[in-house]
């Protein structure tokens, strides 16, 4: 029973990070109809920035400050997103999908090397916070408290995002642009601005995902590419362009992965991809997707 709780926590931990990555990917697709292959690298960037902020630059400071450093990775990823969208991606909205995928694939290759250039080939870790928070007892088992914080941040981020999109004025503009870009533009919405903001928010979420995971595991090269493929599974299961879908998809993938790991570890990834294929066969647009 206690073991079940621990598995559940692990599933939720995984789901909340996945939700942050896949939610950003889905938001960007929903608004701009572009699948950003470089999205995983923004996640990795967030992880690396936070890791070196906590583990290297401010390694000696007091713990209260260290918590404030976690969002730094998210801000860095968001800043990069705000630069990338208007300069590199904007010329491609009217071009066929092949070119959109290719240009983001090019960005992926570049960002992969930028991270290698700045941080070198070795993993960067920032375990100070993780160790300071200690662990708690779950029955006969112990479980790190930090992981619960990650779950809480993931949940809060989801809540904020929902409130932002469905309860604010900007959210209305965002949804209007997503539904019909031309009409929104004709009604006076500054579509370019909405695009920059949506892309920045998407990148912020990916960066936050990386930033909150990094105290419990090191930032390593290639983590972005792995994360991207997993978040593809999430959006395929949940439906591309839907935030609810990203949430449900992340929960499904998180639970399935935890089950697969504890029961047949070799098939962990294969099970996830097969689930994605099965969902696509049954519901082509994903569980929450709109057929286009």
């Amino acid at each position: 029973m206690d073991l079940l709780v621990i598995h559940l926590f692990n599933a939720l931990l995984y789901a909340s990070v996945l939700f942050l990555i896949a939610g950003g990917l889905s938001l960007i697709y929903g608004v701009m109809r572009i699948v950003n292959l470089a999205h995983g690298n923004l996640f990795a960037l967030g992880a690396f920035i936070t890791a070196s902020a906590i583990g290297q630059w401010f390694a000696g400071s007091s713990s209260a400050w260290l918590y404030a450093l976690i969002p730094l990775g998210a801000l860095g990823a968001a800043a990069l997103g705000a630069i990338l969208e208007p300069t590199v991606l904007r010329p491609f909205y009217r071009r066929p999908e092949e070119y959109q995928l290719l240009v983001t694939f090019g960005i992926l290759m570049i960002l992969e090397d930028v991270i290698r250039f700045i941080w070198g080939p070795y993993p960067v870790s920032a375990t100070t916070i993780f160790e300071k928070m200690g662990s708690m007892n779950v029955g006969d088992w112990i479980y790190p408290r930090y992981n619960l914080l990650v779950i809480a941040i993931g949940g809060l981020a989801g809540l904020f995002l929902w409130a932002f999109i469905y309860r604010t004025n900007f959210g209305i503009l965002l949804r209007a642009t997503s539904q019909d870009m031309r009409r929104a533009s004709a009604l006076g919405v500054n579509v370019n601005l909405v695009y920059v903001e949506a892309f920045t928010i998407g990148c912020f979420m990916a960066g936050l995902g990386g930033a909150i995971i990094v105290p419990s595991q090191s930032a390593v090269l290639g983590m972005g590419v792995d994360a991207l493929v997993l978040s593809f599974i999430v959006v395929v299961v949940g439906g591309l362009g839907s935030l609810e879908g990203a949430l449900v998809g992340a929960l499904i993938v998180g639970l399935l992965r935890e089950t697969a790991i504890s029961m047949f570890p070799e098939l962990e990834l294969a099970v996830l991809y097969l689930i994605a294929a099965v969902v696509l066969l049954v519901r082509p647009a994903g569980l929450f997707g709109r057929a286009t």
Binding site: V35, L37, V88, P91, F92, R95, E97, E98, Y99, L101, L102, V103, F105, G106, I107, L108, M109, I110, E112, D113, V114, R116, F117, V225, V229, F232, I233, V235, V236, L240, P265, E266, L267, E268, L269, A270, Y273, L274, A276, A277, L280, L281, P284, A285
Partner: protein, 335 residues
């Protein structure tokens, strides 16, 4: 597209093709005697990727489906050869190719059955996800596949007689094996040429250009897409089979999805709207990558910049741009 419409029908006649193809084949045949063995081996890699690109482009250029999972079929070819060596102790290259075709048909039939139900971005994501299934299996079942250590493949026996055992391996690869690759490449080009200019190929292009109209004409869209998927996968798998002896080793890297991205890159570099585009793209890409890797450890940045600039400024690729320039020059000339 107007540049192609301007070309007179005579330019597509067999005689005209021979005027182009024979000298190119002759040059490719002479090159091992002119270039050093390193460059020849690089050219062999390029020709192999060109076969993969030809297969890939049957889907992208002629059927309008962008696959981001073609590493799966390349890897199926490569691993089939490695398994045949390890478990069946086969040495003959011809048997490798036959085994690869059989294995690729099996895998592409399953994958294709699922994938051709979708088009556009969903097709891309689905092919990517399925290719990652194979990658994760190759990665995790290390007692079968060798995991990240991979499987070693010795030099094969060509046509039952030629082996590299008696001679230097580099010499074997840059001469005997190079000609083998060249022969397969020429056959592959010829077959693909016939396919895309057959009624079947025309039907694929009709589907690409307008699915609804193609359906009204009576083309069975899903079946045609499925057949194109099979053929495309088999071509790419043959490329994988040819690649293994050259590389000497197959690791899960041959299956990873970023390698699929490289296949897409090659086709777009050459120009996926042209028959010869992927061929030129693959050879150029291979030399470009070789240069970039030797030039800097940050070769990915260089390739990424090339890719971004390419799709921004030359969306029709090398061949497309060359044709456009040639057409402009011809019009000037005629005036």
């Amino acid at each position: 597209m107007s540049a192609i419409a301007l070309r007179p029908a005579a330019m597509r006649s067999p005689l005209w093709i021979a005027v182009w193809a024979v000298p190119i084949a002759a040059v490719l045949a002479v090159l091992p005697w002119v270039m050093d063995s390193y460059r020849t081996i690089q050219l062999a890699y390029g020709l192999i990727f060109a076969i993969a690109g030809l297969g890939f482009n049957l889907l992208l250029g002629y059927t309008g489906l962008l696959s981001f999972g073609h590493s799966a079929y390349f890897g199926v070819g490569a691993y089939t050869v490695a398994f045949m060596v390890k478990y069946l102790h086969v040495q003959s290259m011809e048997l490798f190719v036959l085994g690869t075709i059989a294995a690729a048909l099996l895998v592409t039939a399953v994958f294709g059955y699922v994938c051709v139900r979708y088009t556009r971005i969903f097709f891309s994501i689905l092919t990517l996800a399925l290719s990652q299934v194979l990658w994760s299996l190759a990665f995790k079942f290390f007692w079968v596949t060798g995991g990240t250590d991979g499987l070693r493949v010795p030099t094969p026996k060509l046509l039952g007689v030629v082996t590299g055992e008696s001679e230097d391996k580099i010499h074997f690869l840059s001469h005997g094996y190079y000609y083998y690759v060249l022969a397969v490449f020429i056959v592959a080009v010829a077959v693909m040429w016939l396919v895309v200019h057959s009624p079947f190929g025309k039907a694929l292009q009709a589907i690409r250009d307008n699915e609804t109209r193609a359906r009204f004409v009576g083309i069975r869209i899903r079946r045609y897409r499925f057949l194109a998927f099979l053929l495309s996968g088999v071509f790419t798998a043959i490329a994988g089979a040819l690649w293994v002896p050259l590389n000497g080793l197959v690791t899960p890297d041959a299956l990873v999805w970023t390698f699929s991205g490289e296949i897409v890159f090659m086709s777009v570099l050459g120009g996926f709207r042209n028959f010869t585009g992927p061929i030129v793209g693959a050879v150029v890409y291979n030399y470009l990558k070789d240069f970039a890797v030797g030039f800097t450890v940050y070769w990915q940045t260089l390739m990424g910049v090339v890719l971004v600039v390419l799709v921004m400024t030359l969306p029709t690729g090398i061949v497309g741009t060359a044709k456009l320039l040639a057409a402009t020059a011809r019009r000037r000339f005629a005036r």
